[in-house]
C-alpha cells in the first residue's frame, strides 16, 4: 500500500514537472511520432525543396545557395521556379510521369489479378498450412532485391531459361524479345511487389466471417455468386491497401526499368537518376522529386480517407 502511494506521488511529481513546461503526459506520448516525422521526413523534404528552388552551377555543392550574404549584415534570398517551369515545358518529364503512372497502374492490376487467387487460397487453406504458405510469400525478401531482378535477366534474355524452354517445347522457333521491353518491366514490377498485394488481401480475406457465406448459401446463393456478392465487396479494403502498397512505390521505381526495361521504357525514377548523376543537375532532379511526391500524396490521401471511413465499422 505504502509503495503505491509513493509511486503515485512520484508520478504526480513527474506530471507536475511536465505541466510546468506546458506539456501533459498525453501530449508527450503523441508528440513522439510527430517529432520522428518532423526530423526524418519534413526536414529532408524541405532540404530537397530548397535545392529544387535553386539554380544549377558548376561547383560543390552543385547548386546556388538559398541565402547569400551580399554585404555586411545584408542577406539575400534567391528563389527560382525555373526548374518547375522547365519540367512543365519539356515534354520529357510529363511523358515520363504519365508513363510511370501507366506502368504502375498496369503492374498493380497484374498484382491484383495474380495476388487475389493466391491470397484467397491461403486464407481458405487448412489453418496449419497458412503460416508456411505465408512464409513462402515473403521468402523472396530474404534475398537481395537487386539479385532477384538480375535473376530475371537470366530468365527473360534471348538465350535465357524462358526462351529455351519455349523453343524446346516447339512453341516458338526463334527467341522472343522480352528483355529490354516494357513487358519485362511489367513482369519485374509485378514479381517484386506481389507480396505487398498478397499480404493485405490475405489479412482481409482471412478475417472474413465464414458464416456470411453460409448465410448466403442458406438464402439460395450458389458459391460462385456468393463470392461475387459477399467475398469480393468485403475484400475491397484489402484490395485498396494492396493496390496502394504496389502503386506508390512502383510509380517511383528505378531499378527494375533500368535493369529489365529497354532505353525506351521511360519512367520518372530513371529520369530523376539521369538528372542527378549523369547531368549533375541537382536542382532539376529535386524539382522532379518534389513533383513526384505531390503525385503520390494524392493517392495516399485517398487511401487515408478510405481507411477513415472503414474505422466507422464495428
Amino acid at each position: 500500500m505504502a509503495e503505491t502511494v509513493q509511486s503515485e506521488m512520484r508520478h504526480t511529481g513527474f506530471l507536475g514537472l511536465l505541466q510546468r513546461v506546458g506539456l501533459s503526459g498525453r501530449a508527450l506520448v503523441v508528440s513522439v511520432p510527430y517529432a520522428w516525422l518532423l526530423l526524418f521526413f519534413l526536414v529532408p523534404f524541405l532540404i530537397v525543396l530548397k535545392i529544387a528552388l535553386a539554380e544549377s552551377q558548376m561547383a560543390i555543392p552543385p547548386f546556388t545557395s538559398l541565402i547569400e550574404n551580399v554585404e555586411d549584415l545584408k542577406y539575400q534570398i534567391t528563389v527560382t521556379f525555373y526548374n518547375f517551369h522547365y519540367m512543365v515545358t519539356d515534354d520529357l518529364y510529363i511523358v515520363a510521369y504519365l508513363n510511370s503512372l501507366k506502368i504502375a497502374f498496369i503492374s498493380t492490376i497484374c498484382c491484383l489479378l495474380l495476388g487475389y487467387p493466391v491470397a484467397y487460397a491461403i486464407a481458405k487453406a487448412d489453418p496449419k498450412w497458412r503460416a508456411p504458405l505465408l512464409m513462402l510469400v515473403i521468402l523472396p525478401f530474404w534475398t537481395s532485391f537487386l539479385i532477384r531482378v538480375y535473376a530475371w535477366i537470366g530468365i527473360l534474355s534471348n538465350n535465357g531459361v524462358l526462351n529455351n524452354v519455349l523453343m524446346w517445347l516447339g512453341i516458338i522457333n526463334e527467341p522472343l524479345q522480352i528483355l529490354y521491353t516494357p513487358v519485362a518491366t511489367y513482369i519485374g514490377i509485378t514479381y517484386s511487389y506481389l507480396p505487398f498485394m498478397i499480404l493485405p488481401l490475405y489479412s482481409t480475406l482471412e478475417k472474413l466471417d465464414n458464416t456470411l457465406l453460409e448465410a448466403a448459401a442458406d438464402l439460395g446463393c450458389p458459391p460462385w455468386k456468393a463470392f461475387l456478392t459477399i467475398t469480393l465487396p468485403l475484400s475491397i479494403p484489402g484490395m485498396i491497401a494492396g493496390a496502394l502498397l504496389v502503386f506508390i512505390p512502383a510509380t517511383g521505381e528505378f531499378v527494375i526499368p533500368e535493369l529489365l526495361g529497354g532505353p525506351d521504357t521511360l519512367m520518372i525514377g530513371r529520369t530523376l537518376w539521369t538528372e542527378f548523376f549523369n547531368n549533375r543537375d541537382w536542382p532539376l532532379a529535386s524539382a522532379v522529386a518534389v513533383a513526384l511526391l505531390l503525385f503520390l500524396v494524392v493517392p495516399i490521401m485517398i487511401f487515408q480517407n478510405v481507411q477513415g471511413k472503414q474505422g466507422g465499422h464495428p
Partner: protein, 384 residues
C-alpha cells in the same frame, strides 16, 4: 420457472400422437463424426408440420451439428435426412427449402437492412415490385419498418436479431432453423422476444426448429423438446412430459432442479413402486407403474416445488415420502424462497416454497427442525 405456455390454436394439436400424420422432417439414424469425435450419435427423430421443436442441450451435446446437417452445411457420416419426403443427402444448402437464422445473425455488413432481407429473394429471381412488397411486409412483421435503409452496424443487438429473423422468413421456407436465436440478447429482451417468436411462428405457420441451451427458453416456446446429451437424444417430449416425467437422471437434472434419492426397489406393481432409500431415511412410494425388478438400484427424483416444508409433523402420515432435517440455507427470491435442508442421513435437499406471506412473517428460519413431505405422484423412479 416461467411456465406460461402461449396458446397454439392455429396448428393441429399434438400431431406426433396421430399415427396417420406424416412427419415433415425425418431424421433417420444420423451419425456425424469429426475425426474420432462423434458429435451426433445415431439420432432418429420426426418433426411435424407447424411444430416449434427445440433441440436442447449443453455445449458439445451435438444440437448445433444436427441443425447444421438440416441446413446442409454438414453432411451426415451415416444416416439420412428427409424434408417433406425428399432425401436431402445430395442437396446442397442453396437448394434446400430451408432457411436458417444464425447465432451470430450473419448479416451482410456491406448491405442495408433492406438489401439483406431482399438477398434471398434476388436469388430466386423474384420480380422487383414483389421483392419491395415482401421486404416491407417482413420489416413490418418484425416491427422494423423505419430501419430499412440502415446498415447492420447502426442497429442494436435486438434489432439485428429481428433483421436476421426477417431475412430468414421472407423466403417463406418450409422449415426455419434457429441457432440460439435469443442467445445474444439480455434477459429482459429475451423474455419479451420468446413470446414474440411464438406469435410470429403462429402467424406465418412455418415449422421452427430451434437450438438452445436455455431450458427455460425451450420450455416457454416449444411444442416439443429433444433433450440432447453427448450426441444422443436423451428424451423427446412436450415441455410437461420432459419436466414431470423425466426418463433418466440426465434429463431430470438438466431441466430445472431436482432432488435425487438413491435407493433400491422393494415393490414393483402396475400401479406403484416402493423404494427403500437410506438417503431419504424412509420408504418412497411412487404412484406410477413400476418398471424395475425388485432389488434394482435406482433413484427417485423429486422436484423442489413438489415438497412441502413444515415445522410440525404432517397429519395422517404413514411415514412414507417423509423426511426430517435442519434448515441450513434460505434464499429469498421474492416470489419464492429456496430452502436447503440437511437431512438426518447427511443428504442435502432443496425445497422451494411460494412466499404466501411477507418475509418478515416467515415462520421457518435457519437451524429450524423441519418435516419434508411429498405426495405419491411427485416422484419419478429413474435408472441411469
Amino acid at each position: 420457472m416461467a411456465n406460461a405456455q402461449p396458446s397454439r390454436t392455429q396448428t393441429k394439436l399434438e400431431p406426433w400422437r396421430d399415427p396417420n400424420e406424416k412427419p415433415y422432417v425425418r431424421i433417420e439414424k444420423v451419425t456425424k463424426k469429426f475425426g474420432d469425435f462423434t458429435a451426433v450419435d445415431d439420432v432418429s427423430l420426426s418433426i411435424y408440420r407447424g411444430e416449434f421443436f427445440s433441440l436442447l442441450g449443453g455445449s458439445g451435446s451435438g444440437k448445433t451439428t444436427l441443425l447444421r446437417m438440416l441446413a446442409g452445411f454438414e453432411r451426415p457420416t451415416e444416416g439420412k435426412i428427409f424434408i417433406d419426403g425428399v432425401d436431402m443427402s445430395n442437396v446442397p444448402p442453396y437448394e434446400r427449402p430451408v432457411n436458417m437464422m444464425f447465432q451470430s445473425y450473419a448479416l451482410f455488413p456491406h448491405m442495408s437492412v433492406e438489401a439483406n432481407i431482399a438477398f434471398g429473394l434476388h436469388q430466386d429471381k423474384v420480380g422487383k415490385a414483389e421483392i419491395a412488397e415482401r421486404v416491407a411486409d417482413a420489416l413490418n412483421l418484425v416491427q422494423l419498418g423505419q430501419f430499412g435503409k440502415r446498415k447492420p452496424h447502426q442497429l442494436s443487438g435486438g434489432q439485428r436479431q429481428r433483421v436476421a429473423l426477417a431475412r430468414a422468413l421472407v423466403k417463406r421456407p418450409k422449415l426455419l432453423l434457429l441457432d440460439e436465436p435469443l442467445g445474444a440478447l439480455d434477459k429482459k429482451l429475451r423474455e419479451q422476444t420468446q413470446f414474440e417468436l411464438v406469435n410470429i411462428q403462429e402467424k406465418v405457420g412455418i415449422t421452427f426448429v430451434v437450438v438452445t441451451h436455455d431450458q427455460e427458453e425451450a420450455m416457454t416456446m416449444s411444442s416439443r423438446i429433444a433433450v440432447m446429451n453427448r450426441g444422443y437424444i436423451a428424451q423427446i417430449g412436450t415441455p410437461t412430459e420432459i419436466y414431470e416425467y423425466p426418463n433418466s437422471r440426465f434429463t431430470a437434472e438438466f431441466i430445472g432442479s431436482v432432488n435425487m434419492f438413491h435407493g433400491r426397489v422393494l415393490e414393483s406393481e402396475p400401479d406403484h413402486s416402493l423404494i427403500r432409500s437410506d438417503e431419504a431415511n424412509c420408504d418412497l412410494y411412487v404412484s406410477h407403474p413400476g418398471h424395475l425388478a425388485p432389488g434394482t438400484e435406482c433413484w427417485v427424483a423429486v422436484r423442489p416445488e413438489k415438497v412441502t416444508i413444515s415445522k410440525d409433523a404432517p397429519a395422517g402420515s404413514d411415514g412414507r415420502n417423509q423426511a426430517t432435517g435442519v434448515v441450513k440455507e434460505i434464499a429469498y427470491l421474492g416470489d419464492v424462497s429456496i430452502y436447503e435442508i440437511l437431512l438426518d442421513s447427511g443428504k442435502r435437499v432443496r425445497v422451494t416454497a411460494p412466499m404466501v406471506t411477507r418475509r418478515t412473517e416467515m415462520p421457518i428460519t435457519w437451524e429450524d427442525r423441519v418435516y419434508l413431505s411429498w405426495r405419491p405422484f411427485a416422484g419419478s423412479v429413474l435408472t441411469n
